[in-house]
C-alpha cells in the first residue's frame, strides 16, 4: 500500500471511530427534517378553543361578532354581568369590553382575562373582528354602501407570484432565499469545520513531536495531502450519510403527511401545464391551480403548501452535484492553507495570527450573505461567486435562483485553477513549518519559506 494511502487510512479511521463524528452525523438530518416538519406540525396542531364574552357599551359590536374555529363569542350585555359570569363559570376564558364613547368613534377595547392570558390567535381574532366591524359600520352606516358591495370590497385577494418567462417556473423567491442561504451556510460550516480539523491534526503532530518520525518515512507533501484527503473523505462520508438519513427522514414525513405533499405536487404539475400547454388547457390548469391555492389559502396550510411546492420546484440533483463540487474543491483549497497555518504554530492560541487572514474571505461571504440574497444576480454576488476564495459559499447561495452558465463555468474553472497554487504554496510553508520549534514565526519567515528550494 502506498504511503500516502496509509496516511489517508489512519486519518480517516481515527476520526470515523470517534463518537463525535456519529453525533454530528445524526443531528444534522434531524435539523433538516425539522425544516420540513415545523410548518407541518404547526399546521396540523389541534386548535385551542376559547369562549369570549362580549360586553359592548357602544352597541356597535355585540351583534356583529362572528364565532370562528378558535373563538366562540357570546353576548353579555354589561361588563358587570360578564364579570360575574366569568367568576361563576370555568368555561369563560375572556371578556371583550368596549367602553362607551360620547361623541367620537370608539378607539379602545379591553380584553379581560383570569390568570391565563388568551392565546395570540384569540387576541388576533378579537382585534381583527373589532376593526372589521368598525370599518363595516363606517362603510355601511355612514357611506351607505350595501352589504353586497361590502362583501365584494373585502373579498379581494392578491398574491404576488414570481415566474421565469422562459421556463415558466414559479419563482418561489422566499423558498429559494432559504435554500440558498442554507446551502451557503452549510458549505461554509463544512469547509471551516473540516479545514480546522486539518489544522488541529497538523498542530497535534507538531506539538506531540511525532512529525519528524513520520517525515523520515514519508515526504512532508505526502503527509500533508494524506491528512487533507483523509479528513476530506471523513467529510464526504458524513455528507453522504446526511443525504441518506435526511432522505429517510423526509420520506417518513411524506408518508405521514401524504395529503399535503400530494397537493403540492399536483399544484406543480398544474403550473407546468398552465405555462407550457395550449391556450385552452393552460387556462383550465391555471384556473384549477388558482382554485387549489385559494382553497388552501383559507386555512393555515397555505404557507406549508407553498413551502413544499417551492422546495419541489428546485432541482435537487443539480444542487447536490454542485454542492459536492464546491465543497470538495473549496475544502481542498482551504484545508491546504489551514495545514500550512497549523505547521507554523505550536499551540492553538498562537494560531490566531495566521488563521485570521486565511478565514477572512469565508467570513466575509457570510457577512455579505444578506446583501447577496437581496440581489442574487447583482454585481457583488457575481464577483464573489467567481473569485476562488469566496466562490464556494457565494455560488451555492446563488444556485437556487439560477445562474448564467458562463458565470458558473468561469467560477468552477477559476476554483480548479486556484487550488493547485494554494496546495503548492501551502506545502512549501508546511514543509518548513513542521520542523520549526521555539521562536514564534513571523510573516517574514513565511516569505522566506516560500523561497526555500527544499
Amino acid at each position: 500500500m502506498s504511503k500516502t494511502l496509509l496516511v489517508i487510512q489512519r486519518e480517516y479511521l481515527t476520526r470515523v471511530r470517534k463518537p463525535s463524528f456519529w453525533i454530528l452525523t445524526i443531528v444534522v438530518p434531524i435539523l433538516i427534517a425539522g425544516l420540513y416538519a415545523i410548518p407541518i406540525v404547526l399546521a396540523s396542531k389541534p386548535i385551542e378553543h376559547a369562549n369570549v364574552l362580549v360586553a359592548d357599551e357602544t352597541g356597535l359590536f355585540e351583534s356583529e361578532f362572528r364565532s370562528v374555529r378558535e373563538v366562540t363569542y357570546l353576548g353579555a350585555g354589561s361588563l358587570d354581568f360578564a364579570k360575574r359570569q366569568m367568576e361563576q363559570s370555568d368555561t369563560i376564558d375572556a371578556i371583550v369590553y368596549v367602553p362607551r364613547t360620547e361623541t367620537m368613534l370608539p378607539t379602545n377595547a379591553y380584553l379581560y382575562y383570569r390568570s391565563d392570558l388568551p392565546s395570540v390567535a384569540v387576541q388576533t381574532d378579537v382585534e381583527a373582528q373589532l376593526q372589521e366591524i368598525l370599518r363595516n359600520r363606517i362603510l355601511i352606516d355612514i357611506h351607505g354602501i350595501t352589504p353586497d358591495e361590502y362583501a365584494m370590497l373585502t373579498s379581494t385577494r392578491m398574491t404576488l407570484r414570481t415566474q421565469d418567462i422562459e421556463t415558466g417556473r414559479d419563482g418561489f423567491l422566499k423558498v429559494k432565499m432559504a435554500v440558498g442561504g442554507l446551502l451557503a451556510l452549510l458549505v461554509f460550516m463544512a469547509v471551516f469545520l473540516f479545514s480546522s480539523q486539518v489544522m488541529r491534526g497538523v498542530m497535534e503532530e507538531k506539538s506531540s513531536r511525532i512529525v519528524e518520525v513520520i517525515v523520515s518515512s514519508v515526504k512532508p507533501f505526502q503527509l500533508m495531502m494524506g491528512k487533507v484527503v483523509g479528513i476530506g473523505l471523513v467529510g464526504l462520508t458524513q455528507f453522504v450519510l446526511w443525504v441518506m438519513l435526511s432522505g429517510a427522514a423526509l420520506g417518513g414525513l411524506r408518508l405521514a403527511h401524504a395529503d399535503l405533499f400530494d397537493q403540492a405536487l399536483k399544484n406543480r404539475n398544474l403550473t407546468e401545464i398552465a405555462t407550457k400547454g395550449s391556450d385552452a388547457t393552460a387556462q383550465m390548469a391555471a384556473a384549477q391551480l388558482d382554485e387549489a391555492r385559494y382553497q388552501a389559502g383559507e386555512g393555515a396550510d397555505k404557507s406549508v403548501l407553498e413551502l413544499i411546492e417551492g422546495l419541489s420546484s428546485i432541482n435537487f440533483g443539480l444542487l447536490a452535484a454542485l454542492f459536492l463540487f464546491y465543497f470538495v474543491v473549496g475544502y481542498l483549497l482551504y484545508a491546504s492553507l489551514f495545514a500550512a497555518v497549523g505547521s507554523l504554530v505550536d499551540s492553538e492560541t498562537d494560531s490566531q495570527q495566521f488563521t485570521i487572514p486565511v478565514t477572512i474571505p469565508l467570513v466575509l461571504c457570510i457577512l455579505l450573505m444578506p446583501a447577496m440574497i437581496q440581489e442574487p444576480s447583482g454585481t457583488l454576488s457575481v464577483w464573489l461567486s467567481v473569485i476562488p476564495f469566496t466562490s464556494p459559499v457565494a455560488m451555492l447561495l446563488r444556485i437556487p435562483f439560477g445562474v448564467k452558465i458562463g458565470q458558473l463555468v468561469l467560477s468552477m474553472v477559476l476554483l480548479l485553477a486556484a487550488f493547485p497554487c494554494c496546495i503548492w504554496a501551502a506545502s512549501k510553508i508546511y514543509r518548513n513549518g513542521i520542523l520549526h520549534y521555539g521562536r514564534k514565526l513571523t510573516w517574514k519567515d513565511l516569505a522566506h519559506f516560500l523561497k526555500v528550494r527544499k
Partner: protein, 237 residues
C-alpha cells in the same frame, strides 16, 4: 557506508553547516558530538532527506544517495513523540508500515520486540497512559523494527532511567554485532566514549575534530572525551 562531502546549508543569513565532510564506516558506531546549535540536527535531517543541502553531496554505499536509500535508515529524532490518543499496537504497526513492512510481518516483529522490552501487555493501551520511559521504548522499537542497515539515534537516552538506558545500550551493541551501522548523536560524553568507534565533533557549523576514538584519546593523553570536547570548543571561540 555513508560519505558526506562538502555539505553546506544556510537558513536566510545563518549558515547551519559549512562545508562539512565526514565518512561513516560500515558496522561501526559513529559518534556525532557538539554543543547545542552546532548543526548536528541539520546534518541528520539532510541524511534523512527531510531537508536538502544547498551544496555538497551524500554517498550511500559509494554511490549518490537516493530517496529509496532512506528506507534503509532507522531514525530516532531528538524531537520525538507519538500520537497520544492512538493505541500503542496500532500506532507501532502504522509506523512500521510507513517504513515498508506489511501488516502481518510488522505485528509479528513488534510482539517479539515488545516481549523483549517487557511492554507487550501495553499493546492495547492508549499512548497517553504510558510513562515517558515506556513511550521511549516504543519509539526505539519502531525505529529498529524494519531492520535498517543504518541507524541514527539523536540523544537516544534522554528520558530513560539508568536501567532502561543500559538496556538500550545493550540493544545498540547487539544491532551493531548483527551488522548495522549506527550514527549516535549525544551530549553525554560518557556514553559516547563507551559506545563509539569513531567521533566527529561539530562546532559552529564546522567539523573541528574527527577520527577514531582510540586515536583521539591517544592524541590527548590524560584527557577524557569530555575534557577534549570542552577544550576544543572553548579554544574554537
Amino acid at each position: 557506508m555513508l560519505q558526506i562531502e562538502n555539505i553546506t546549508k544556510t537558513y536566510g543569513t545563518f549558515r547551519a553547516l559549512d562545508n562539512v565532510s565526514l565518512s561513516v564506516r560500515p558496522g561501526t558506531v559513529f559518534g556525532l558530538i557538539g554543543p547545542n546549535g552546532a548543526g548536528k540536527s541539520t546534518l541528520i535531517r539532510i541524511i534523512n532527506h527531510i531537508i536538502a543541502p544547498d551544496s555538497g553531496r551524500l554517498l550511500f554505499d559509494g554511490r549518490p544517495m537516493t530517496d529509496a536509500d532512506v528506507e534503509q535508515i532507522g531514525y530516532l529524532p531528538e524531537e520525538r513523540g507519538l500520537y497520544k490518543k492512538m493505541r500503542v499496537g496500532d500506532q507501532a504497526v502504522y509506523l512500521a508500515r510507513l517504513k515498508g513492512l506489511d501488516k502481518g510481518e510488522a505485528e509479528r516483529r513488534l510482539h517479539e520486540w515488545f516481549r523483549r522490552f517487557d511492554i507487550d501487555d501495553w499493546w492495547n493501551r492508549r499512548v497517553e497512559e504510558l510513562s515517558k520511559g515506556m513511550q521511549q521504548k516504543v519509539q526505539f522499537v519502531v525505529t529498529v523494527l524494519h531492520a535498517p542497515r543504518l541507524l541514527i539515534f539523536d540523544e537516544p537516552f534522554s528520558g530513560f532511567d539508568p536501567v532502561n538506558a543500559d538496556l538500550l545500550k545493550r540493544e545498540m551493541l547487539r544491532l551493531k554485532a548483527q551488522g548495522a551501522t549506527i550514527i549516535f548523536s549525544t551530549h553525554n560524553m560518557a556514553s559516547a566514549e563507551e559506545l563509539c568507534d569513531d567521533i566527529v565533533l561539530i562546532n559552529r557549523s564546522q567539523v573541528v575534530l574527527s577520527g577514531s576514538l582510540p586515536a583521539l584519546l591517544a592524541a590527548h593523553p590524560g584527557k577524557g572525551l569530555e575534557r577534549i570536547f570542552i577544550d576544543t570548543v572553548t579554544q574554537n571561540h
